[in-house]
């Protein structure tokens, strides 16, 4: 019943705003235009923005819900890669934790998040994505896997652990469109791959 209450309150608010805005045209219109532009802007359209609570969470939703991946999610949003990560894929995402990002040289993350570095950031993030869906034990069959940035990463098995591009898989979560492997390092593309 909370919702109905909310609706009522909201309509009242909207109505008030309408009345107000028509009286104070210039100022109020600026605000509403901003809001409406944001709602329909290109970057907010696509599969990533569909409301669907019945399907198994996709790789993006898993990352968004994880408190350990706020840096990764911020980076995905800055690079505009949301729609790619909800694609039918299948997608295997190696998701570095916040601690992994913190381990990078000071200032690296801040620099990458700047709008002028969007492309570079996208390349690095795509280096963490494979078109495929393999669980940790299955990954042991590979020597290398091809990443979405068109380069390869190595797969190494040490004891029970699997390292992808030098990053250790510390947890794995099955997603609606693939799998998220949580890793302890950011996998940086190297020139010789």
């Amino acid at each position: 019943m909370k919702t109905i209450h909310l609706v009522k309150v909201f309509f009242t608010v909207v109505l008030l705003i309408v009345i107000y805005s028509c009286k104070n045209e210039v100022k109020q219109n600026e605000i509403t235009n901003q809001a409406s532009t944001e709602i329909v802007s290109e970057s907010q359209k696509g599969q990533a923005f569909i409301n669907d609570e019945s399907s198994t969470p996709n790789v993006l939703q898993i990352a968004i819900k994880s408190p350990d991946h706020t840096t990764l999610v911020a980076a995905v949003q800055a690079a505009g890669l949301e729609n790619v990560l909800v694609n039918a894929g299948p997608l295997m995402v190696f998701a570095p934790t916040n601690a992994a990002f913190d381990a990078l040289a000071p200032g690296t993350v801040e620099t990458l998040l700047k709008p002028e570095n969007k492309e570079q950031l996208a390349t690095i993030l795509k280096h963490h994505v494979t078109a495929g869906n393999y669980d940790k034990s299955f990954l042991k069959k590979f020597k290398k896997i091809g990443q979405a940035d068109d380069t390869n990463v190595t797969v190494e098995v040490i004891g029970e652990d699997v390292y992808v591009g030098g990053a250790k898989i510390i947890a794995s979560i099955k997603a609606g469109n693939g799998i998220v492997h949580v890793v302890d390092k950011v996998i940086l593309p190297t020139s010789n791959q």
Binding site: V14, V18, S36, Q47
Partner: protein, 654 residues
């Protein structure tokens, strides 16, 4: 949920504000069609016609649907590989043979890649061909009657995917196998695939006058998967190009094992050379079983013939006929630009597109610059044949079409977008999102020498929230873009039937004037036709009863029939005597174990009924043919099997 509602409410609020004040001139361009000319560009006024026909494959519907562009209105579903109760296709006695195969009657297929016949590399609008992917077949559809006229089965093939593309004078329609299989089929262990399975690429000749198809030869290739293909054109006419994957020859878990090689191949086939070899008696005739079904427009009947042998060619016997062009990342689409110079490999696990140069390929072949061989077939050096790489920034390229103005357009499945790029400089000019996960795209004539580069249709694989929800299963979505300017403009979004893979478009003016309106009754050569009502009759041949029936607004002749017995096989042979555009009559009999018939003016169709119960059973016209349609009906009296009631028939008690 709460968050979502909140957003919805604020959206609602914003809309109310905008409409209530209504003075936001120029500030809300982003609101789409309402404020741009997009709506005008797709609006076809009532009674007006579209500029283009679009033929969309039906995928798992097995059929082909006809749309108009730019309106996105659907005009017709043409039954091809699937039974279609709407018209009785595959149910009527005349059309059952169309769905015969060497495996028996197969009532369905997976239709993929329609291609319109060409003359001098330009669309000529005579026929459209489409492949059945599952039980390998190629169909030819008349673009005068818009009906399936012929289906030929492809032996030694499985997963008929790199099909059904025509050469530039429709010399051949080409069908390549996706699955390699034992040739000939035999009982053997699956894990002995490597080196033992093979892939057949079939060149089916098309009779220039009637369009009749015949397998001229099959090239028996190494056991790769042959994914898609396109013909050379202009300077590269005489060649055909096929993408391959699984050059690893894995027989299990292909999603891993077929992606091990960094590069697979585009197979370049000099079919003119193979044709010459075959015409001089080359090749080996091998036993095979495949069915050839032909529908005759004058008898309104299909016949099915089993063919017993096929001519196979070993590529190693024809030096200089087959080469491999290394192409990265399991290429999917294989597209050739209008000039015939560029061959594009869309590496589906890549971000980049590989463009090969025909001139470079010829130079490398002439210079014998080979980089090894695969099963004796020379491999050219990647660097020698490469023309350029399109650094697209997209993910998962699948297919490319052309606008005839020097631009190419490529779909990207994973990043859900169409990217426009320039041939020769490889620079990306524009990119637009699609909704969602686009597979093929279509520009009318976009894979011919002369594309009509005005519209582009993106054929998406995923629909999700694009339309009002209708449960888990829904139609696919398509978007139409205006590509007449530098940047693409999204105009409209419309659902498509089944799962369209490829599509083919053609200017309406090339087809509309010659579309057939009626079949002439005086040309009807159906053996059970009655050309005037006084020929209507009922004949018994043992247990078979043949009813020669005619229809005209608004009665069947005859409409009362007696003397039919339980256990009889009753054939209704119905000739529609109307000679008026768009006045079909239908026919349906209670309890009949088949579909209705829809009979076009001047046409004869036959339907089988095997009555199981004694009684008086009605039949009626299923098409609202006239004001007295509800009066268009009749009765059949069914007597016990041992009854001695004589056959009799009548209309109006005469």
């Amino acid at each position: 949920m709460k968050k979502y509602r909140f957003q919805l409410l604020s959206l609602f609020g914003a809309v109310i504000l905008l409409t209530s004040c209504g003075n936001n001139n120029g500030n809300n361009k982003s609101r789409g069609a309402l404020n741009s000319s997009a709506a005008e560009k797709v609006y076809v006024a009532p009674g007006e016609h579209d500029e283009f026909y679009a033929f969309m494959s039906g995928g798992y519907s097995g059929n082909l649907t006809v749309y108009g562009l730019p309106s996105g209105r659907m005009f017709k579903e043409i039954p091809v590989f699937s039974q279609f109760p709407t018209s009785g296709y595959g149910y009527s006695e005349e059309t059952k043979p169309m769905l015969e195969t060497s495996h028996g009657f197969v009532p369905w297929d997976d239709s993929h890649h329609p291609d319109i016949s060409q003359t001098n590399g330009e669309l000529d609008g005579r026929w459209i061909f489409i492949n059945g992917n599952n039980t390998p077949r190629i169909a030819r559809i008349s673009l005068t009657t818009f009906e399936t006229e012929e289906i030929i089965e492809i032996p030694n093939s499985a997963g008929n995917h790199s099909s059904s593309f025509v050469t530039e004078n429709s010399e051949y329609v080409v069908a390549g196998t996706r699955f390699s299989v034992p040739i000939p089929q035999r009982d053997m262990p699956i894990n002995e695939y490597k080196g033992n399975f093979q892939g057949a690429l079939s060149f089916i000749s098309v009779d220039p006058k009637h369009g009749h198809m015949d397998i001229k030869f099959q090239i028996i290739m190494p056991g790769f998967n042959y994914d898609l293909s396109h013909p050379g054109r202009g300077k590269s006419h005489g060649w055909f190009f096929f993408t391959t994957y699984n050059t690893e020859e894995a027989n299990s878990l292909q999603e891993v094992n077929s992606s091990q090689n960094d590069k697979d191949f585009i197979a370049a086939i000099n079919w003119k050379k193979v044709e010459e070899y075959v015409n001089q008696g080359g090749g080996t005739k091998v036993p095979a079983n495949y069915v050839h079904n032909v529908y005759d427009e004058t008898t309104h009947m299909a016949t099915s013939t089993m063919k017993k042998e096929v001519l196979t060619v070993n590529p190693l016997d024809i030096p200089g006929a087959v080469f491999f062009l290394p192409t990265p990342k399991s290429p999917h689409g294989c597209d050739v630009d209008p000039s015939g110079q560029y061959i594009i490999g869309n590496g589906k696990l890549s971000a980049d597109l590989t463009v090969h140069s025909f001139d470079n390929m010829i130079a490398a072949i002439e210079g014998k610059k080979f980089d090894g061989e695969a099963y004796g077939i020379p491999i050219l050096k990647f660097e020698d044949v490469l023309a350029g790489t399109v650094k697209s920034g997209g993910l998962g390229p699948l297919h490319t079409e052309f606008d005839g103005k020097g631009n190419a357009y490529t779909t990207f499945f994973i990043s859900s977008e169409v990217v426009k790029w320039k041939l020769g400089t490889w620079e990306v000019i524009d990119r637009k999102p699609t909704y969602y996960s686009v597979g093929h795209l279509m520009i009318p004539g976009g894979n011919s020498r002369k594309p009509f580069g005005k519209y582009l249709v993106a054929l998406n694989k995923i629909t999700k929230d694009r339309y009002l929800p209708v449960g888990p299963e829904m139609e696919h979505s398509a978007q139409i873009y205006d590509i007449s300017g530098e940047k693409m403009e999204l105009l409209y979004d419309f659902p498509t039937h089944g799962e369209p893979h490829y599509a083919a478009g053609i200017p309406a003016e090339l087809l509309a004037p010659k579309s057939k309106k009626i079949y002439r009754l005086d040309e009807n050569k159906h053996p059970y036709a009655v050309t005037s009502p006084d020929q209507a009759r009922v004949e018994r041949k043992g247990k078979e009863v043949h009813i020669y029936m005619s229809t005209i607004r608004s009665h069947f002749t005859p409409d009362n029939i007696e003397g039919v017995k339980v256990g009889d096989k009753v054939y209704f042979h119905i000739t529609n005597h109307e000679q008026d555009f768009d006045v079909p009559h239908g026919f349906a009999m209670i309890g009949q174990n088949t579909s209705e018939l829809l009979i076009m003016p001047g046409q004869t169709k036959s339907s089988l009924w095997e009555p199981k119960k004694v009684g008086v059973w009605p039949f009626y016209c299923t098409d609202f043919c006239s004001a007295l349609h509800q009066e268009m009906q009749g009765y059949v009296r069914v007597s016990p099997a041992n009854s001695d009631i004589e056959l009799s028939w009548s209309l109006g008690g005469d």
